[in-house]
Symmetry: C2
DNA sequence: TTGAGTATATTGTAATGCAAGGTAGTGATG
DNA sequence: CATCACTACCTTGCATTACAATATACTCAA
């Protein structure tokens, strides 16, 4: 399970990426996230996030009848949303590059300036 | 610049990884983070985090004189900290696997069940 | 009529990055 | 000697956000 704190800032961009693929709605997004390996993301997380994105002008919505069941609120990216998605991808790569360069993450590169001023026992 | 929300849950594990390499202190950690590509992480972020980790029993500290300048508080991982670091690495890989499988991240695998129930214009 | 599944929304809580502020020691510059 | 820069630590308060809990409402099957 991915801890909630690790999801902060990741979920928003991930949902933008999902919406960018095809017009979709909250319930379907939650299923897509589970399918992509994010685990079960609470609806109490997804709907407020979608409202935030809508208020922020990153996505726009329209209600569509389904013939059966409640109406669905379909979302589409705005140009600002597209831009935000691109920025997210850049930031994400920057973040993973930093973490992956950390010792013990199997992707060490450079950074061999291990200084020898190791502290001696003292009190 | 990595957005602050994206750092949540990442910073703690990253700092544990840095401490696991060698006994070190707050100021040096902030420089190491910058060197690894995290950008300038505020001291208002690092010191509270170190105190949290110490109170949580993940790290232990001892003060050492430096001969010149203020005393340094050197930190070491506890067994619980080691375990937490291992768990962080697992969660991190799980998270990046999910994000990387998202459309538009250059690492698409499987997930070709794109259903054809595309909504037709309606109102 | 009871339940499960689909679908959206709101309220309140907890976690955490960080700006802003403070303390203190050392050494160089004027 | 006064000032500044750098090292090094710490605290307070704010903003953001994932999520549990809760609510509404429609459809369909048992």
């Amino acid at each position: 399970m991915i801890p909630s704190q690790m999801l902060k800032g990741i979920l928003q961009g991930s949902i933008l990426a999902i919406i960018s693929q095809k017009e979709t709605y909250g319930y379907e997004i939650s299923q897509a996230l589970a399918r992509y390996g994010f685990g079960t993301i609470s609806e109490g997380t997804i709907y407020p996030l979608l409202l935030r994105l809508e208020k922020g002008g990153l996505i726009v919505a329209r209600f569509l009848d389904t013939g059966s069941g409640p109406k669905r609120k379909y979302y589409t990216l705005t140009p600002a949303g597209q831009e935000e998605l691109t920025q997210f991808q850049i930031s994400y790569r920057e973040m993973t590059a930093a973490v992956d360069s950390l010792p013990g993450f199997g992707k060490e590169e450079s950074h061999e300036e291990r200084d020898q001023t190791a502290p001696e026992g003292e009190q």
